[in-house]
C-alpha cells in the first residue's frame, strides 16, 4: 500500500530540510494516518457508535549528538519545516546536558511496501450488519433477566497507514488492519456479590490482524448462552481454597501471563532504566544474558513480528528494520531482549526490530511484537486428564506485577477445580501468585499447536506520555507445579 503522494512529498521535504543542518547526523521522518471505528451495545441500547481519523507527521533526529523529536498534524511544507526546526533546537539544547553523544549504529536503508492480508474490508461492512452482529449475542446474554444485571458487546476496527523515510535511504509504506469483537455479562446475586464472564477472552484481548471475517470466526452468538450460564453458576460457586496447587493456565490467561512476566521484563529500555518514570525496570539484567534460567527446559519464548494475524506483525519496525522471529528464552535460558538499534548497540548486539510508536505524535520506542510461547504437544483436555489435583485458570480479571516484573498476582473469571483428571467444579474469585522465574521453572507441560491461539492485547501502556500499543501473544495452555492459590 503506497502512501499518498502529498504525504510522501512532505516527508521528503522534511528530510531535506533536516539534512541541511550540518550537525544533524541521523533523521527519521514519519507520516501516519489512522482510521478507526468503535461500536458498543449495552443493555439493549447503543452505547457509543463512533468513528475517527487522525493523521500527522513527526521527525526524530540526532543533532549535536543528542535526540530531538517534534510533530505536527498540519499537512503543509511550512508546518513540517517548523517541526524540523523544533526538533533540531530540542536536540541542540539537550546536548548541553549530555556527557556522551548518542551511539546510533548506521545501516543500509530498506525500501518496500507491506499490507495486512484480509478477506473482508471491515470499513466497507454496513453499520446495520455490525450492530446486528452485536445486538443478537448481547440480547442472548440478557435472556431471562436476573440475576444477569448487565450485558454488553463491542467491536472495534483500526486501519493504520504509515510511511517512514530516513537519512539512510529507508522508504517503507505499510497498511495494518486489525480489530476484534467481544462481550461480557455481569451477574449480581441476592447477597450483592457480583461475577463477570467475558468472551472470547478478557475484554481488550480479542484483537486480531485481519478483516471482518474475524467476527464469524469469533462466534459470539454461539457462545452467549454458555457465558450467561457460567456467570450465573459462579454466583453460587465456592471461593477458591487457599493453598498450594498445580495450576493449568488456559490459552487466554497464558497470554496475559506471557505479557506481564516475559514481554515487559525483556524490554531492553526497561532493563537499562529508561522506563522508570511510568512502567518500572526489569529483573532481567544484561549480565543475565545466556545464563539466567528463566524457565524449565520446555519453555521457549520468541519475539515474532511475522506470525499471521498477530497484532505485533508488520513489514518493518519504526526504525526501518524488517520483521523477524528470534528467541528471547530458549530451552528455559534467557537469551535476548526486545530491543532498538540504540539499546542493542549498547550491549554490542543486533536490534530485534521491535520499535513502534502508537501514533504520529509519539516517539517510537521498544514495544512487544508477538511475544509467544512455543507450543509442545497435546490438547488441553489431555493436560487436564493428566492432572491429579489442580486448578484451571482462564480469562483474566485482575492483574498486578511489581516494577521489576518479579512478584505477580492474577485473578481470573474462570477457575475449574481438577480432581483425578476431571474438572469437578467452578470456583469463584480465584487468584494465583508467584515470582516470575520460579513460576516458569515449574512449568512441566505445554500444549500443542492445535491449542495455541494468538491473543491481541489492544491497550498495552508504556512510555511517558503514555502510549497505548496493540501487541499479541501466541499462547498454548500449560501447567505449573505447586503454585500459591487462593481467593480475593
Amino acid at each position: 500500500m503506497a502512501a499518498p503522494a502529498k504525504a510522501r512529498d512532505l516527508c521528503s521535504a522534511a528530510l531535506r530540510r533536516a539534512q541541511q543542518h550540518p550537525d544533524v547526523s541521523h533523521v527519521e521522518v514519519r507520516w501516519l494516518s489512522e482510521q478507526s471505528e468503535r461500536l458498543r451495545v449495552r443493555d439493549g441500547a447503543p452505547d457509543g457508535i463512533s468513528s475517527g481519523r487522525s493523521a500527522g507527521f513527526s521527525v526524530r533526529l540526532i543533532a549535536g549528538g543528542a535526540w530531538g523529536f517534534a510533530c505536527t498534524a498540519e499537512g503543509s511544507e511550512p508546518a513540517v519545516s517548523r517541526m524540523v526546526s523544533e526538533a533540531v533546537a530540542i536536540a541542540r539544547a539537550s546536548a548541553r546536558l549530555s556527557d556522551r553523544p548518542v551511539r546510533f549504529p548506521a545501516r543500509a536503508g530498506e525500501v518496500g511496501e507491506y499490507s495486512t492480508p484480509l478477506e473482508i474490508d471491515p470499513f466497507a461492512v454496513p453499520l446495520e450488519t455490525k450492530l446486528a452482529d452485536l445486538s443478537t449475542p448481547e440480547a442472548e446474554l440478557r435472556r431471562g433477566g436476573a440475576p444477569i444485571h448487565s450485558a454488553e458487546a463491542w467491536m472495534h476496527w483500526t486501519q493504520v497507514d504509515k510511511l517512514l523515510m530516513t537519512s539512510e535511504g529507508t522508504d517503507v509504506s505499510q497498511r495494518l488492519v486489525y480489530g476484534g469483537v467481544g462481550m461480557s455479562a455481569i451477574a449480581v446475586g441476592s447477597d450483592g456479590r457480583m461475577q463477570r464472564r467475558s468472551f472470547p477472552g478478557f475484554p481488550g484481548s480479542e484483537g486480531v490482524q485481519g478483516g471482518y471475517e474475524i467476527v464469524a470466526r469469533t462466534g459470539l452468538s454461539a457462545a452467549a448462552s454458555r457465558i450467561r450460564a457460567e456467570a450465573i453458576e459462579l454466583l453460587g460457586a465456592d471461593p477458591c481454597p487457599e493453598g498450594v496447587r498445580d495450576v493449568v493456565l488456559g490459552s487466554n490467561q497464558m497470554a496475559l501471563q506471557i505479557h506481564e512476566s516475559c514481554g515487559h521484563p525483556t524490554e531492553l529500555d526497561r532493563a537499562l532504566g529508561a522506563e522508570i518514570s511510568l512502567a518500572g525496570g526489569s529483573f532481567l539484567q544484561p549480565s543475565d544474558l545466556g545464563k539466567l534460567r528463566y524457565g524449565s527446559e520446555i519453555v521457549t519464548l520468541t519475539a515474532d513480528s511475522i506470525a499471521p494475524t498477530g497484532l505485533g506483525t508488520f513489514g518493518w519496525d519504526d526504525e526501518g528494520l524488517s520483521a523477524r522471529k528470534a528467541p528471547l528464552v530458549e530451552g528455559g535460558i534467557f537469551v535476548d531482549y526486545l530491543s532498538s538499534r540504540e539499546t542493542a548497540a549498547a550491549l554490542g548486539r543486533e536490534s530485534t526490530a521491535t520499535v513502534r510508536a502508537d501514533g504520529w505524535n509519539r516517539v517510537p520506542m521498544i514495544r512487544m511484537v508477538n511475544v509467544s510461547l512455543e507450543p509442545r504437544a497435546g490438547t488441553l483436555e489431555e493436560l487436564v486428564a493428566d492432572t491429579a489435583d489442580g486448578i484451571l485458570f482462564d480469562v483474566n480479571q485482575s492483574w498486578s506485577i511489581d516494577d521489576l516484573r518479579l512478584n505477580f498476582q492474577f485473578s481470573c473469571e474462570l477457575a475449574w477445580e481438577i480432581k483425578r483428571g476431571k474438572r469437578v467444579r467452578l470456583l469463584r474469585d480465584a487468584r494465583y501468585t508467584g515470582m516470575t522465574p520460579r513460576f516458569w521453572q515449574s512449568c512441566d507441560a505445554i500444549c500443542g499447536p492445535e491449542e495455541a491461539r494468538i491473543w491481541g492485547l489492544m491497550l498495552c501502556g508504556k512510555g511517558d506520555p503514555i502510549q497505548s500499543m496493540a501487541v499479541a501473544h501466541g499462547a498454548p495452555p500449560g501447567r505449573f507445579r505447586q503454585v500459591e492459590v487462593g481467593h480475593t
Binding site: I49, S50, S51, R270, I276, S277, S400, S411
Partner: protein, 458 residues
C-alpha cells in the same frame, strides 16, 4: 491558539454543517516534554495533541466522529460523517439532547501561566541541569520528566452553548536511583503546578536523593498484617482506583460499584470523606466537561456514608437528576462513562507525616505504590499492588531501615475502617490517563494492612 478562536471555529463548523442537533468538543495541547533516564536526556519532545470529537443526533439516534485536524472544514466534515451514520444507529430513548445555551455558566477559573506556556527547550534544560548535578553528586542516577503543557479546549452545540478555557500545567517527576533498571534503592519526588515558576524542583530532588540514600541495602519482611503509614501519593493511587471502579454512574448502573445499592448507607470509616472538587485549589481541570456542563462540587462519600456518584447528561437523565459535569473526554485508556476529574480526600489532624509514623510501634512506611489493581472484587473495593520508591520499617515510632518491595491485598473500604490518623495537609497527584485529572490526598495510618506476600527474590 486562543480559547475564543477555537470556540469560534467550532461554531463556524456547526453553522457550515447545518445539523440541528450536534455537539463539538475540541482540545489542542502543546507539550514540551523532557524525559530523562540514567542521567541522559534521551526523549526530549515537542508534542502537539489536537483532538476534535463531534456527536450528531437524529431522532435520538446518536453517532460520534473524531478527527485530528483543527479547521472549520475538517470539523464540518466530521459532523457530516456522524450525520450520515446516525440514521443507522438504534434509537436511544434515554438520549437527553445536547446542552442548550441556558445551561448554567461555569465559574471563572484562572489556570493559565504565561511562563509555563512560553517554556522553551533551553529553559527545561536549564532547570534540569542542577537536578542532574545534585543526583550525580550523591552517586545516584537521575530519571524523570519535566513537562510544560499549554492546553486550550472548547465546546459548542447547535443549541447555542459555547464554552472555552485555556490552561497550563507544569509537572516534574524525579527518581534518584542506586542503579539503572530499577533494582537497588530508589527515591522519588513529584510536583505539579499551573505555573512552572512555582515548581520546587530542588526540594523534590532532595527528597528523591534522601530516600534513595536511606533506601540502600534493603532488608526483607514476611507476609502479614502491618500497621502502615501510606504516604499521600499511595493513598491517592488507591482513591483513583476507587473512582475507576465505583464513583461513576456507569459502574453504579452496572452493579459493579461498591456504592451500588448502598447509597445513604455507611460503607467505610466515618472519618473518610472524598468529594469531586474541581473548583478548589487542588484541581487542574477545565471548568466544564466535554458536554459543556459546568463542573461542580459533588460529595461522593461523606462521614463514611455513600452520597452519590458523578454523572454526565445521559446517566443523569436516567437517574432523574442533572449532570454533575463529569462527561469523560475520549481516552484510549478510559471507558466512556462519567468519571471524577478532581478528587479531594479530606485531611485529618496530624501535623506531619512524622506524627503518623510516631504512632506506630512496629510497622511500615510506604511512600508510593505500583501497579495497583482494583478489579479483584470491586463491590468490596478489594485491591492489590506493590510498594515502590521507599518502603521502610518503623520501630518505636521511627523509621529504622529500608525494606524491599512488598505486595498488599486488602479492601480499601475495610482498611480505612482501621485508619486512625491522617495528615492535615494534602498532596496533589495529576493522573497519567486524563488531561487535567487529579487526586489530592493526605497521608494515612492504617492498622493491620494486609501484605499478602513478602519481599521479592529472583
Amino acid at each position: 491558539m486562543k480559547g475564543a478562536e477555537l470556540a469560534s471555529m467550532l461554531n463556524a463548523a456547526l453553522g457550515a454543517a447545518g445539523e440541528p442537533e450536534a455537539e463539538v468538543f475540541a482540545t489542542f495541547a502543546r507539550r514540551g516534554f523532557a524525559r530523562f533516564a540514567v542521567s541522559e536526556l534521551g526523549q526530549h519532545m515537542q508534542l502537539e495533541e489536537p483532538s476534535v470529537v463531534v456527536r450528531v443526533a437524529r431522532d435520538r439516534r446518536v453517532a460520534e466522529a473524531s478527527c485530528s485536524e483543527l479547521s472549520e472544514h475538517a470539523i464540518a466534515d466530521a459532523i457530516r460523517s456522524a450525520a450520515r451514520t446516525a440514521p443507522s444507529v438504534p434509537r436511544d430513548e434515554g438520549f437527553p439532547g445536547f446542552a442548550r445555551a441556558d445551561e448554567p455558566e461555569p465559574p471563572p477559573m484562572a489556570r493559565h501561566s504565561a511562563r509555563t506556556a512560553a517554556a522553551t527547550a533551553e529553559e527545561r534544560v536549564e532547570l534540569l541541569s542542577p537536578v542532574f548535578s545534585r543526583i550525580r553528586a550523591a552517586g545516584l542516577l537521575a530519571t524523570g520528566v519535566l513537562d510544560t503543557t499549554s492546553r486550550v479546549e472548547a465546546v459548542a452545540t447547535s443549541h447555542g452553548l459555547t464554552r472555552s478555557h485555556e490552561s497550563t500545567l507544569a509537572t516534574f517527576k524525579v527518581w534518584a536511583l542506586e542503579s539503572a533498571g530499577g533494582s537497588g534503592a530508589a527515591g522519588h519526588g513529584m510536583a505539579a503546578h499551573v505555573d512552572l515558576g512555582s515548581l520546587d524542583l530542588e526540594a523534590q530532588t532532595e527528597q528523591a536523593v534522601v530516600d534513595a540514600l536511606r533506601g540502600k541495602n534493603a532488608g526483607s519482611l514476611p507476609a502479614g498484617r502491618y500497621d502502615t503509614v501510606l504516604g499521600a501519593l499511595a493513598l491517592a493511587e488507591l482513591v483513583e482506583w476507587l473512582a475507576m471502579i465505583g464513583l461513576g454512574a456507569r459502574e453504579l448502573e452496572q452493579g459493579l460499584s461498591p456504592l451500588a445499592g448502598r447509597l445513604g448507607q455507611r460503607i467505610t470509616a466515618d472519618s473518610f470523606d472524598v468529594m469531586e472538587d474541581p473548583l478548589g485549589p487542588h484541581a487542574f481541570a477545565a471548568p466544564f466537561d466535554r458536554e459543556g456542563v459546568a463542573r461542580r462540587q459533588v460529595p461522593l462519600i461523606r462521614g463514611g456514608i455513600a452520597q452519590g456518584v458523578v454523572h454526565d447528561r445521559a446517566t443523569a437523565a436516567r437517574a432523574g437528576i442533572t449532570s454533575t459535569g463529569n462527561a469523560a473526554a475520549p481516552s484510549a485508556f478510559g471507558g466512556s462513562g462519567p468519571s471524577p476529574s478532581s478528587l479531594v480526600v479530606r485531611g485529618g489532624s496530624a501535623a506531619s507525616l512524622d506524627e503518623l509514623i510516631g504512632g506506630v510501634d512496629r510497622g511500615l512506611y510506604v511512600r508510593r505504590l505500583h501497579y495497583v489493581n482494583g478489579y479483584l472484587e470491586p463491590r468490596r473495593a478489594v485491591m492489590t499492588g506493590l510498594t515502590r520508591d521507599g518502603t521502610f520499617l518503623i520501630e518505636g515510632g521511627k523509621v529504622t531501615k529500608p525494606i524491599e518491595s512488598m505486595r498488599f491485598t486488602d479492601s480499601l473500604l475495610e482498611a480505612l475502617e482501621r485508619a486512625d490518623g491522617m495528615t492535615h495537609s494534602l498532596t496533589v497527584a495529576p493522573n497519567w490517563w486524563s488531561a487535567g485529572g487529579s487526586v489530592a490526598a493526605p497521608a494515612v495510618r492504617i492498622r493491620g494492612l494486609n501484605f499478602s506476600s513478602g519481599s521479592r527474590q529472583k
